[in-house]
């Protein structure tokens, strides 16, 4: 026989040990009868779930604090903008008044008209 024939002979199928099919069927029946095992019934899965929740809480807390800081910053900027706008308006009014007075008295310039 050549190598390929020898291999076919050597690698021929073998019967499994006695009672193999019965053992498989018994395990299959047990598997089918066993109540469905939900993931939370496994201690490791419970532990993993708790750890995941803890990480989520920490991350959510950090995110919330960051969001709060960002909101405060935006509000401060807005307030500064409003205050700046008001100041500018007031300054324009003062200039306008001063200019009107100067026109009435024949004076030109003034402390606010330096530019």
């Amino acid at each position: 026989m050549n190598l390929k024939d020898e291999l076919r002979w050597a690698m021929r199928r073998e019967e499994p040990p006695e009672g193999f099919a019965e053992r498989v069927l018994a395990r299959a029946a047990a598997q089918a009868d066993a109540p469905t095992r939900q993931w939370w019934r496994f201690p490791r899965m419970r532990l993993a779930a708790v750890a995941a929740c803890a990480v989520l809480v920490v991350l959510a807390g950090a995110g919330y604090r960051q969001w709060q800081g960002e909101t405060a910053r935006q509000r401060a900027l807005l307030a500064l903008g409003i205050a700046g706008g008001d100041l500018h308006t007031t300054q324009l009014r003062v200039r306008h008044i001063l200019a009107a007075r100067a026109g009435a008295t024949g004076e030109t310039g003034g402390p606010m008209e330096t530019r």
Binding site: L3, R27, A32
Partner: protein
């Protein structure tokens, strides 16, 4: 919950006749067991892995379309479970390829000693080459099926099997030569 007995049957909507799990086990047990056994060379582990393959089939029986599909599924799953088992356990055969003892007697066809030696040599091959030899010489599959199961291109599969056969031939030839030299 549907009543499940030892003779669990599943009716796939695409099939005409129900598949009986017990029948599938009895019909394909030698194929699945032999695939795993030739790959792992440990009867206890082979039985455990083969049982797991059938239990997986039991869970998926509803998606199996035909007896031919079941056979294909079992063969493919057995091969991949065997490879997983080798990788998971860093499973090595009892001895390395170069330490396999030489046969005491010259080889003859159908010789149980030669067959045992060949099985050991095959089990000492790298995992993919091992599965190629098993699928080609145990199952006598076509190349297309082998490539599909092992997810290998045709050229790669052929060259790996060729290399594996060269190794086996070399090893076997060396053994025969030594046996011849030992004789007066």
């Amino acid at each position: 919950m549907a009543e499940l007995t030892v003779e669990t049957a599943a009716q796939n909507p695409r099939t005409e006749a129900p598949l009986h799990f017990g029948d599938l086990v009895r019909e394909h047990q030698s194929m699945v067991y032999s695939l795993v056994w030739h790959c792992l060379r440990d009867r206890a582990v082979a039985e455990e892995v083969a049982q797991d393959v059938f239990l997986e089939l039991h869970r998926r029986l509803g998606s199996i379309e035909s007896p031919a599909h079941a056979q294909h599924w079992l063969r493919r799953t057995a091969v991949h479970r065997s490879i997983d088992e080798i990788r998971r356990r860093r499973f090595r055969p009892w001895v390395a390829l170069d330490r396999v003892p030489e046969p005491a007697a010259p080889a003859r066809g159908g010789d149980p000693l030669l067959a045992d030696r060949l099985r050991r040599l095959v089990a000492a091959l790298p995992e993919e080459a091992r599965m190629l030899v098993v699928l080609r010489f145990q199952e006598e599959l076509e190349w297309s099926e082998i490539c599909e199961i092992l997810e290998l291109p045709l050229g790669t599969a052929k060259s790996r099997l060729h290399r594996a056969l060269l190794t086996l031939r070399e090893k076997l030839g060396a053994g025969r030569q030594r046996s011849g030299e030992a004789r007066p």
